[in-house]
């Protein structure tokens, strides 16, 4: 030891740090590691990119939706000026009939925008030159257009969706989405939970070894293939069983059932994870009291895993709502407000895909409208996912 120390002392280094001189054998100071810092910065940016994505989604969807709701559409009132109007006049005579106008309505004649102040029979008094338009004279028999904005109330309560003619009620799309999702849930939730119980409580290792890969395969099949399946097998099957008059070629029931099949593996694998997480000691306690396997599985294990199972259900619902290709292929084109699942109807997602698959010019009413629908879809699925995470966190069972 003594020799070592001497040798070290011989090779010692005098290091100056500020006013302190350290007579040290090794240099232990921190040194700037630029490469490390750069790499760490790059990696942080990779992570932060995800935030950018979310911001991007909210921003773009929001921007176009805003545009959608504030866009001014001019609807032809089928009224015209009876007499020519010059730049001085503030009261015009207009034709009776056509679309009814009210005080406060914004109207447009040629390029000039005006606001109706007083409406008295065939005479209308206006405030002229609004929205930056120039006050000009207009000849007789010029068409009058009235401004038709999309109001939020109309959006959420209207029952017809036809942007081209100014109808913006989202209900036909929403009911179609609800119907397909309902069918999907009816299929997937009971079956998925049942499969999960079987796999976790009853199945031998060999059975599990066969069944789990099959479920994984089902989960990995692209949705467009499921769409083909819905159209070419499920629909003809439904038509044969229930009659070709009851079931149309495009219908929401067929699409809904196949969506259920699509999400079944999701429900079963998440539920199974939850069930397997229940410790063995609980099952032993139940058996020790003279419970049968069924009673143990259903009355002890499933309640103990309830938060995980609920989360699975919610996530699966969210997935069903967001499903696009199956409904695009099999449910039908064209919004249709109906509660008959055997008729064709278009869901929110199917509508977005159909509209954007065609010729779509930026800033047209169609373009903006799909973003409004998309925004709603985003919020619904996001809320469901957040709720499911909250449930898992808050009600996560403590077993010990």
């Amino acid at each position: 030891m003594q020799d070592e120390m001497t040798t070290v002392a011989k090779g010692s280094v005098a290091v100056a740090t500020g006013n302190v001189v350290i007579d040290a054998a090794v240099d232990l100071r921190k040194r700037p590691r630029i490469r490390e810092a750069l790499i760490q910065g790059f990696l942080f940016l990779c992570g932060a990119l995800s935030i950018l994505t979310t911001v991007g989604i909210v921003f773009e969807l929001g921007k176009e939706s805003l545009s959608f709701f504030s866009q001014q559409l001019w609807e032809d009132t089928n009224k015209q000026l009876v007499v020519a109007a010059d730049v001085e006049m503030t009261t015009f005579e207009i034709v009776e009939g056509g679309k009814a106008l009210q005080g406060g309505d914004i109207i447009r004649i040629n390029d000039e925008v005006m606001r109706i102040v007083v409406l008295d029979g065939g005479l209308v008094t206006v405030e002229r030159g609004l929205q930056g338009t120039r006050v000009v004279s207009h000849s007789a028999e010029t068409d009058i257009f009235v401004s038709n904005k999309v109001s939020l109330t109309e959006f959420f309560t209207g029952t017809k969706w036809n942007p081209q003619i100014g109808q913006f009620g989202i209900w036909p799309l929403v009911t179609a989405t609800l119907m397909t999702s309902a069918f999907a849930m009816i299929i997937a939730l009971p079956l998925g939970l049942s499969v999960a119980i079987y796999l976790s409580e009853y199945a031998s290792d060999r059975a599990r070894g066969i069944l789990k890969p099959i479920l994984e395969i089902l989960a990995g099949i692209p949705t467009v293939v499921y769409g083909y399946f819905a159209l070419t097998l499920m629909t003809p099957l439904l038509r044969k069983v229930l009659g070709a008059e009851t079931v149309q070629i495009y219908n929401t029931a067929s699409a809904g059932i196949v969506i259920g099949i699509l999400i079944l593996p999701l429900v079963s694998s998440m539920s199974e994870d939850a069930l397997r997480a229940v410790p063995r000691s609980l099952r032993e306690a139940a058996y020790g009291l003279g419970a049968t396997k069924l009673e143990t599985a259903v009355k002890v294990v499933v309640p103990a895993a309830l938060s995980g199972i609920t989360a699975a259900f919610i996530v699966a619902t969210s997935r069903a709502i967001g499903e696009t290709m199956i409904v695009a292929v099999a449910a039908g084109a064209g919004p249709n407000l109906t509660f008959n699942p055997f008729q064709s109807a278009e869901t929110m997602t199917g509508h977005i895909v159909r509209i954007s698959g065609g010729d779509l010019s930026y800033d047209s009413i169609d373009y903006n409208s799909i973003f409004a629908i998309g925004l709603m879809l985003f919020f619904v699925t996001l809320s469901l996912n957040v709720i499911s995470q909250r449930i898992v966190r808050r009600f996560r069972e403590v077993y010990e």
Binding site: G47, A328, G357
Partner: protein, 425 residues
Amino acid sequence: MADQQVRTQGTASLPQGEGFQENFAARHRAGRVWYVVFQASTIIGIVVLTALLYNIVNGAFGLAAIQNEVNPETLAVEGVPLDKLDKQHLVDILQQNLSKGLLRRFESEQPFAERTREDVYDLVIERVVEPQVVHTWSLYDSLFRRSAVLAAAAEDYPDARIEFMSWIDPKFVTTPQSSDPEKAGVRTAILGSLWTIAITIVFAFPLGVGAAIYLEEYATDHWVNRIIQTNINNLAGVPSIIYGMLGLAIFVRALEPLSSGTLFGLTDPTTANGRTIFSAGLTLGLLILPLIIINGQEAIRAVPDSLRRASYGLGATKWQTVWHHVLPNALPGILTGTILAVSRAIGETAPLIVVGASTFITVDPSGPFSKFTTLPIQIYQWTARPQDEFRNIAAGAIIVLLALLLALNASAVLLRNRYSRRVRS
């Protein structure tokens, strides 16, 4: 049955205690019933998978009634049938039956003098005889109800010949898209898919793995990091069509100079807009990014801490530890997860339709700034057509897609197994 009696007799001698009603038989019965129910529900999964595969195979093979526009027998020259004519006679037939414009086009593509006799014969068949598929039957019908099919064909399509067609064959994979179902192939779509996925991987893999490394190795419990983590978890659950809309708004529209290639002077002359493979690839990249990150995190978390401690103990920096020790150890898991994410991306249809996949292109993509179509989109378009034959080729394309995915997933499983074997040894 004797067993049953003995059983109840035996157990009846066990006291029940006050207040307890014997109910063992009922409970066991219930147990048996529900066991069957649970088992049956798993069988449904197998049944559905079989039905799906059966359905697809049923559509991809079968008898077809083929009718010729022009009867080849009428084209015989001096008693010599069409298939025995020499090249000069065949060229004559073409000149007699095709328009001038068409002849000029063929000549300019490749002069008749240079074409082989087989080429010219094919052209005659394609353009003059023009066989058309007028009806198809499913494989099941073709195999098990053959006589009924032949009878129906004789009645409805007397001029047609019945041939067994497999709509998927090697030619299918190498022929480009066409509006004619008999001639259409999936080559354009496959190349489109491959180009798109290449861009997706180049974009998403480094960023995803980088984010995963950051979150697992560098991130402290700061609120920013927690937000990033929650955010990624939420993004994984966003419907894929929303990603398509994001891609449309940002990559196609806002970044048009970049995505159309104008910035690099590489625009596709027929497009000159942002609906290119580049935009499609990036959109899919954003879609699978959360999956790669979450999976990467799990793989990195699984690396035993003792490895890191050994590295630090030798005086290595964090990045050196990560690069030389953690990453190599986590790599198989990361790769497996990436392969699975990629196979998910290959099957995605909705986001790419929104981004603007072309409805009809016959030219192979030449680079990242070309118009694009992908295999699932092709399937969608063919499925949506009313004619039966398009369903058949859709089924064929589905088989190609499933084969591709099977290969990918099989390699992921192999990788996983090799990895776990290595760790165990």
